[in-house]
């Protein structure tokens, strides 16, 4: 019988909670540690709320508006709204509210992922998948330690796909609605869900019969109409408040996203740029290069695994689009975006059963890199130059 909350999930979650608290309280006890950029407050929760989390605090406190620079409407609202509610109801600082959201989202996300994988294969694979997601080789576990709300998105897409494949289309759509209010990639999730319903039905009945089928349209509408309306409603409202048409997507230009080029051109551009530098490059660029290499390798692995019939195509497409679209506009933070897809799990497919000890090596490498990123982006005005 499957446990409702499996031990692998609880273990990984508790480990992240402990690491978060140790880091937060250690820095609190050593306040002379120089403030990093995008600093919050020097208490334990503030020490976990730098960079993007600081934006969330600003949005929670001020709402959206036309004069924010960078334009805050690039951030989607669900976590900020929830942080405000927790702050107002429990009278805790925003930083603590965002810590609670991160940790609740992480627990929900790992649990949803475990449930999804267990539904597709078996419990042992689900346990393994949780560990690969909890300690990603990309070195991005810092988003589980700092109070990044991204983890909510992991929960939403895992739950939405699970509900969709269980045939509960309406619930899948409702959960996807939370996803479109959490991250820009929520729109990708809805598109893939709609395509999934189409392909599933067309496989059974053929495309033309499917397109004339009322049942098919009911399923598509149940899965997609509410998230689409939710997203459109949000875009209209926040564009009005910010005074920028389509501001949640247009404002991405304010968070390091540039002109649109093909993702592979972006990678080539970065590699050429790094190769042409005469001065030694700092650690942030090498970290990003590591992540880009893993992303390319990981996507190839996912495609191969899908072709061998061991992975659903929806997860591959969702991962490709969720990484490819932001990569088309910039390299910054790409590791974080890739973490909230199926990509961190790609590497578990290539380790043979007799070499399972390698799992632990990969997790340790990921954790080690994440610790390096965490300390470099938070403790010093960094010359690491990694923008999380």
């Amino acid at each position: 019988m499957r446990p409702f909350v499996p031990r692998s999930v609880v273990f990984a979650w508790l480990l992240h909670v402990i690491i978060s608290l140790v880091f937060g309280f250690t820095v609190q006890a050593n306040p002379e540690t120089t403030e990093a950029q995008w600093f919050s407050t020097p208490d334990w929760a503030g020490n976990l709320a730098h960079w993007d989390v600081n934006w969330e605090i600003r949005i929670s406190d001020q709402g959206y508006g036309p004069d924010f620079s960078p334009q805050t409407s690039a951030k989607f609202p669900l976590a900020a709204l929830t942080a405000r509610l927790i702050h107002q109801v429990l009278h805790v600082p925003m930083q603590v509210a965002l810590f609670l959201i991160n940790k609740a989202g992480l627990l929900l996300g790992l649990w949803a992922l475990w449930r999804m994988v267990a539904g597709m294969s078996d419990i042992r694979t689900a346990d393994r998948a949780v560990r690969f997601m909890a300690f990603p080789l990309l070195g991005t576990a810092f988003i589980y330690w700092m109070s990044y709300p991204d983890v909510l998105f992991l929960a939403w897409w895992a739950l939405a796909f699970t509900c969709l494949w269980e045939g509960n289309y309406l619930r899948a759509g409702l959960i996807a609605t939370l996803a479109v209010w959490t991250r820009p990639q929520g729109a990708v999730l809805v598109g893939v869900m709609g395509l999934s319903v189409l392909v599933e039905a067309a496989r059974n009945k053929g495309l033309f019969v499917t397109l004339r089928s009322g049942v098919f349209w009911r399923h598509v509408l149940a899965a997609c109409i509410i998230p689409v309306l939710g997203l459109v409603g949000w875009i209209i409202r926040v564009s009005d408040v910010a005074g920028i048409p389509f501001s949640p997507y247009v404002a991405q230009g304010d968070v390091g996203r540039g002109e649109f080029i093909w993702p592979w051109e972006r990678i080539v551009e970065r590699v050429q740029w790094m190769a042409n530098q005469s001065e030694p490059l700092n650690g942030g660029y090498w970290t990003e290069l590591w992540q880009l290499a893993l992303i390319m390798l990981g996507l190839v692995i996912l495609i191969v695994v899908w072709r061998r019939g061991k992975l659903r195509w929806e997860l591959v497409l969702f991962s490709v689009l969720s990484i490819g679209l932001p990569l088309a506009t910039g390299v910054m933070a790409i590791g974080r975006f890739a973490t909230m897809t199926w990509l961190p799990l790609a590497f578990m497919y290539i380790i043979p059963a007799r070499w399972r000890w390698l799992d632990g090596v990969l997790w340790l490498v990921g954790v080690g890199l994440a610790v390096a990123v965490l300390t470099n982006i938070n403790l010093t005005p960094s010359d690491w130059y990694y923008v999380p």
């Binding site: 403030e35 709402g63 924010f68 609202p77 494949w165 067309a202």
Partner: protein
């Protein structure tokens, strides 16, 4: 027409449209209805949340500054919103007029609150019972016909603290008043200095009475000080108030006689290392008679720290001064 498929993809072991779903259809419906209700509630809240700050400090500070910038406009925001401690309205009016006259602001001017720099401040223990929330609000102040680019450093200099009491009433504390919600300390007191986040950064002490220095018709007053940094400071600033009005202190020692230049203490300095003790004299040019003299200290942990609430000291004035 069938779509090409790879080898059979992983299937879910719980396919909802089979028997398991039929058995739980009622429970499924209830959960879905609850989820629909939740989504509707969240949607409604998002629509409101999008354009609404928790507290209206940006709007209040904008009104307050517009009144400050334009003496011909309704001055009620100045009288109603300013945190003025034990000052009377007449004293407040005098302080504001002095601030305008000494060129604290271009006249006329156009204020624009910098919504990007509105930060929660640490609430010192002695203010816990009085205030629920303290925020620092940066304001860009532009002269008429002048460029209106955002200026982060300038906007912090002209920014104000906003204090909200338990009932939600707001009070605005500008920098140019010889007042501090932390109270006024006395000469000789060792005053703990905190940054905006409540980190203990060191302490300050006015170590003696005012020194009076007259050269021709210029009178300068010197305040003997000791500053001790127990942490690294990004910056410190000292502000001087003569007769309740802010006066710009001397930034360069070469205006002093040679024998005084050695112990000249600048009113602001960047990058002070921890375990540093600075002793010296802070100088200010003043018109006599001087009936009161206050010095305020602000310590910044880093150059980009927000401004803390000022630690204010009343300086003893000897008879000659």
């Amino acid at each position: 027409m069938s779509l090409p498929t790879p080898k059979s993809p992983p299937r879910f072991t719980r396919r909802g449209h089979h028997a398991s779903r039929a058995a739980n259809v009622h429970g499924f419906a209830v959960v879905n209805i609850l989820l629909v209700a939740l989504i509707c509630v969240i949607f409604g809240m998002l629509m409101v949340f999008a354009g609404q700050p928790i507290t209206p400090e940006a709007e209040l500070v904008q009104q307050w500054y517009e009144a400050l910038c334009n003496p011909g406009s309704d001055q009620a925001p100045l009288w109603e919103l300013t945190w003025r401690g034990d000052m009377s309205q007449a004293q407040l009016k005098e302080a504001i007029e002095h601030y305008r006259e000494r060129g604290g602001l271009p006249q006329p001017c156009k204020p624009v609150v910098d919504v990007n720099v509105i930060y929660f401040q640490w609430i010192p223990p002695e203010l816990h019972s009085s205030y629920e929330r303290i925020k620092f609000v940066a304001v860009n102040v532009y002269g008429e016909g002048r460029p209106t680019e955002r200026n982060l450093i300038g906007s912090e200099q002209t920014g104000v603290h906003v204090l909200f009491d338990g009932s939600g009433k707001a009070f605005i504390l500008p920098r140019f008043l010889a007042q501090s919600p932390l109270g006024i300390q006395e000469t000789g007191d060792v005053i703990p200095l905190y940054n905006n986040d409540g980190l203990l950064m060191g302490n300050a002490q006015v170590t003696g009475e005012v020194i009076r220095l007259q050269r021709f018709d210029e009178v300068r007053l010197g305040v003997p000080l000791r500053l001790e940094a127990t942490s690294n400071w990004g910056r410190y600033e000292a502000h001087v108030f003569v007769n309740g009005l802010e006066v710009i202190p001397e930034f360069y020692g070469d205006v002093l006689p040679p024998e005084e230049q050695e112990r000249f203490l600048p009113p602001a300095q960047d990058a002070v290392s921890r375990v540093t003790e600075m002793r010296g004299v802070l100088w200010v040019q003043a018109k006599e008679p001087v009936t009161s003299l206050h010095v305020g200290f602000e310590i910044f942990q880093t150059p980009w720290d927000m401004r803390p609430l000022p630690a204010l000291v009343r300086v003893v004035i000897n008879d000659e001064a």
